[in-house]
Amino acid sequence: MTDAPITDAWIRRLNLLQLVVAGIIVLTPTLWMVLSSLKPSFEVTAYPPTLIFAPTLENYAQLTKTTPFLSYAINSLIVTIGSTALGLLFGIPAAFAVSWTRISWPAILTLAARMAPGTLFLLPWYVMFRQVGMIGSYTALILSHAVITLPIVIWVLLPSFDGIPRSVFEAAQVDGCSVTRILWRIALPLVASGVAVASILAFVFSWNYFLFALVLSNGDSKTLIAAAFNFIGEGSTQWGALMAAATLIALPPLILAALVQRWLVSGLTLGAVKG
């Protein structure tokens, strides 16, 4: 088999070619969005589309001038950080208890909640929040988004807690440590990286979530994602500003995901695959 090394080299080249093709398909639309956001307004809608142009930030300037972009961004941050914190606060002890007792229904309950269509809860939430005058409040938005973050935290942390040898806990118990103390003093520091991944994933998916804010936020509390919908309606020809908005909205999750991409796989599949 004298030709085996040649075949190997060809297979490797063919694979690299496929990788490049896949990369181009994956990246081109995003690249086009960023390029469009940097085009002078008269060139964004030029046909045929131009690839070479003098880049400008005028679309970004126009966006901040004509819309309360910054205050929408602050709304998004408040809701996202609030719901992530709430998810961690409730999720960390729950994941620990499930891992300890092997009684898994609390974890499954939160996951089932995540699987149902959001519109199912939105209707009663709308009715109930309206009755207590909470439509448009940060509290309503944070509570609704915590429904997204809680199962992420629990299911990302479960395998981490499972990975701690039982003998560590037993030794602490012999020393008279209560379960709660074991969680905060011993187990939590051991799963710190898991907590980091859980926080980032919770942040990303809360930031990205559209449906709840569409109904539960109003003029003053609108999140960026919900406001993006209005940008489309307002300026169907203002492509430059629209793409500038899209780029800015996509930036925080993309940066965070890049930071922890190595550990994301198992978290993204909610523990279904050990990555």
């Binding site: 297979i11 086009w32 269509p117 519109t119 199912l120 209707l123 629209l242 999750p253």
Partner: protein, 295 residues
């Protein structure tokens, strides 16, 4: 330690563990279980414009069976679901194999590949809205330069479903690929070595060995995608709101509009509960399938 003291510690421990999961459970029951029960109640009532409610039993459900818009929505949901799922599984397995054979990918390359599904679906919808614009979009320019006829894309009642499926496939194929890649990496290398000694071709090895071993992982990916695809909402609401006409009016979009645009709360509740039953039915069915293909 005496026996009584031991039982005391055990009881205390059980209590502490219950207290640890209590906040998550109470929160979920308050935010989900109670509202779902409320939705069931709403679905059995009819609400007049003055807000007066009356018990109508299963009338909302029999109305649903006679509602052509419901059946149309079901058809759109299923068409979009099947098309997107098949595309994402085929391309996802392909991409996973490509990534698997490219040993030691730099972190930046991995980041780029996960970027589509890490960005908000709303952003994906916005960018494709511009790319697919029928008169000024880059997609039609590329088609025309290749000598192909331009498409109306999202504005065409015929092409809107395939186009939405295409956008979702762009966004979520890398996600399926990552799951399948995880499955590939957990396969024992001895399997491949045995096949190589037997002189099996690369395609035969894939068809006879890799694919069957990957089936559980593929079913897992199917479950995770099914949950999202059957309640398809974001990209459609951003790009077409169910249009043109009602061509992309999925059940989730239809239920949302009945509830929040027409304020027909009773009927919307019935619609949403039906969709939820479909989603959970699919999850349970695929979960059984996963048990059947496990090895």
């Amino acid at each position: 330690m005496s026996e009584a003291a031991a039982t005391f510690t055990e009881d205390r421990q059980r209590l502490e563990l219950a207290a640890l999961s209590a906040p998550a459970v109470i929160f979920t029951v308050a935010m989900i279980a109670f509202p779902v029960v409320y939705t069931v109640w709403l679905g059995l009532h009819s609400f007049s414009s003055t807000g007066k409610q009356s018990f109508v039993g299963l009338a909302n459900y029999s109305r649903l069976l006679a509602d052509t818009e419901f059946w149309h929505g079901l058809w759109v949901t299923i068409a979009l679901y099947v098309l997107s799922l098949v595309l994402q599984l085929v391309f996802g397995v392909w991409l996973a194999l490509v990534l698997f054979h490219a040993k030691r990918l730099p972190g930046i390359v991995r980041s780029l590949f996960i970027s589509p599904f890490m960005m908000p679906p709303v952003v994906a919808g916005m960018m494709w809205l511009v790319i697919l614009d029928p008169s000024l979009g880059a997609a039609n320019y590329i088609l025309q330069s290749l000598g192909l006829p331009p498409s109306e894309w999202l504005a065409s009642p015929v092409w809107v479903i395939p186009t939405v499926a295409l956008i979702d496939t762009w966004q979520w194929t890398p996600y399926v690929a990552l799951i399948v890649l995880g499955g590939l990496q957990s396969l024992p290398p001895s399997v491949y070595e045995a096949a190589q000694i037997d002189g099996a071709s690369a395609f035969k090895t894939f068809q006879r060995i890799t694919l069957p071993l990957l089936l559980p992982t593929i079913v897992t990916a199917t479950i995770l995608r099914s949950v999202d695809l059957l309640r398809f909402f974001d990209i459609i609401y951003i790009t077409t709101q169910g249009g043109p006409g009602n061509a992309s009016n999925t059940l989730n979009i239809y239920g949302f509009r009945v509830g929040f645009e027409f304020f027909n709360i009773g009927y919307a509740s019935a619609l949403m509960l039906t969709l939820t039953a479909i989603v959970f039915g699919a999850v349970l069915a695929f979960n059984r399938l996963r048990g059947a293909v496990a090895w």
